[in-house]
Amino acid sequence: MTTFSLIILLAPLVGAVVIGLTFRALPTKLHGYLGTLAIFVSFAAAIGAFLDLQDRGAEERQVVVEVWDLARTAGVDAQFALLLDPLSIFMALVVSGVSALIHLYSVSYMAGDRGYSRFFAYLNFFVFSMLLLVLAANFFLLIVGWAFVGAASYLLISFWYRRRTATAAGIKAFVINVVGDVGLVLGTYFVFKHLGTLDFLRGFALVEEEFSRNEADLVAGCLLILVGAFAKSAQVPLHTWLPDAMEGPTPVSALIHAATMVTAGVYLIARLHPLFEQAPIAADVGAIIGCATLLIAATIGLVVTDLKRVIAYSTMSQIGYMVMAVCSAAYVGGLFHLMTHAFFKALLFMAAGSVIAAMAGEQNLDRMGGFKRAMPFTFGCMVVGGLALSGIPPFSGFFSKDEIIALVAAREDWHVVLAILGLVGAFMTAVYTWRMIFRAFYGDPVEPARELEHGHLYHAPKHTNPATGEEEDTDVGFPGPEHHIAEREWSMKGAMAVLAVLATVGGIVQIPHVTHMLHDFLEPTFHDSRYYETLEPSDALTYGGMLAGAVLGLAGIAVAYRFWVRDPERPAAIRARLAGLHGFFVRKWYFDELIDTLIVRPFAWFGRFGRNVFERVVVNGVFVGGTSGAVRAGSAAVRAAQSGFLRYYAALLLLGITALGLYFLISAS
């Protein structure tokens, strides 16, 4: 087990270091394969760990591998220890598996970019950080991994570092993630203060003794941990970085901002379930915010015209489902959806990347159309991903989303409202997903699509930033001159095909009343949960939810079909009628403006105040000026005594000796 866990972690790290150090020595193309190989090794080791775990008895499926002690003093037990239990193995499998496919995709997609080696070094480093996060056996290592993925995310969002919008987006993501990091660290402190240990398993065993139900300190700690989870998982109101993060290359969006990093918050809540079950107030807050996020993001997704941002808002919305689920103790539902979402969302991003490459970097849906015939493979993948996302049976998303809704509804009381809102969200999900697909693939073929049908890949007359239209070149720091589409590259095609199959059949692990693989597999992690075994939706709820989900999904597709294929004039008419609401959604519910007014501007004002008043008057004037003034005045006085007149010195000497003599005479008498 030790060997497997270390290989899982070290393979990506070694990959990152080797690629980083040999970027001149080895041919560039090799780095892509090296990076991909490292992740495949890691994935294989994860499978090994999985099989090893399955060989053990149910009670022994929580293995802690203590590699070494980092610090063990005065009550702090920071160890480099890895926890291998079903939950972490599950996450490791999803992360390394999807990462491996996305690396494979990137081998072609990023070919021709001048930063090819750097890209793979960053990407491997990200996978290492993410695996460190999910395998951590204590808060300490978790926070390290947590910060590392934030840094990797920053590096990859700003990958095209000469693009102004990309660097701005990277900074935004990093700042918001640091807000979350601070929340996580402070929350950890609250918990650590009472439990006296950073270790997960030792701490969880003490939770019920040390904390009474809803104890203030625990609720505060859990809420702060939720701040960390929300910042990482892009939940309202810390979500504004995720749509901007789409400035990064598309494989980055697929890997970090859809499949893995943004689900870290969900993992965190599931991992810390004993704390949240002891602090139901915090869990309820989380569930409500998750539900709010899924609705807010879905409404924005309905109006956004940027292809990648539609999927980004969809990601936010789907993570809202997961957060709602894990905060309502529907752990299997949340984690199941995490897995299927990783499959179909990565697939959707890959297909979107293929379309964007065919459009020569253009991302605006308004300028797309008619790619159906030009790119049949991409279209097929997009349809599979879209069906899975909309929750159409028998695709994977259908089972996972309905598992969430049924389990949340089974919590009864007000959780039922959350489940109903979840169904509303499911309808909107179908509408915005298929709006995107219909707009990109149906209608009259645009010029790039026509060229592609004739066998040529469209090249834009000049390279521009798709967001602002600024002119760019293709040197390092900007996207490369070549672009590659799934139809022509085996590695892109292969990665997408595997994900398409997984997105289609991924649901079989947890079909109500048929299979309970995931439930049984995760059981050892959640054996101390008070809901895990008892929370069981009734048959009416299960089948009713499935029926409602399927019907709403199909209805959403039908609405999208009617609006964007049959009657393309309709959306404009509706938009004109609901101009206010449309504007509200297009401006993303004014969250950016709100944060700008409430936080950014006051801080900027405070900074200016500090610079102009405090710095200038107090620091420069009083401290620096006062000190130097005193020294200058003192030295001027001393300098004046140094006249160079010998007789003057002699007189001073005389005066001094006389004064000394007088002093002794007076003190002696």
Partner: protein
């Protein structure tokens, strides 16, 4: 003869030397005045030695003479060097050493 008279003479000579140092500008005269001050101190030392009836004061006076000889050697050397460089023989003019 009581010791007071010796001390009065010593103090007078010392003050004459001091006054010379404070008022005169010629280094040669200043050296002379320094000698006066040192010898005033010698006079007091010898007087005290006699009053106490032991030899320590006399030994001190001898040591002071040695020091005075050294000082004169250095001081005269400096004056000769100044003269050779045709610098003014005036301590107020020679004040570049103030740093």
């Amino acid at each position: 003869m009581s010791i007071e008279w010796y001390l009065v003479v010593s103090a007078l000579v010392f003050c004459i030397g001091l006054g010379g140092i404070l008022t005169r500008r010629n280094p040669l005269v200043i050296l002379l005045c320094l000698e006066l001050m040192l010898n005033a101190a010698n006079l007091a030392l010898v007087a005290f030695a006699r009053a106490h009836g032991n030899q320590e004061g006399q030994i001190f006076a001898l040591i002071v003479m040695v020091v005075a000889a050294c000082e004169v050697a250095v001081g005269l050397g400096l004056i000769v060097a100044i003269y050779r460089r045709r610098l003014p023989i005036d301590v107020d003019e020679l004040r570049e050493l103030q740093g």
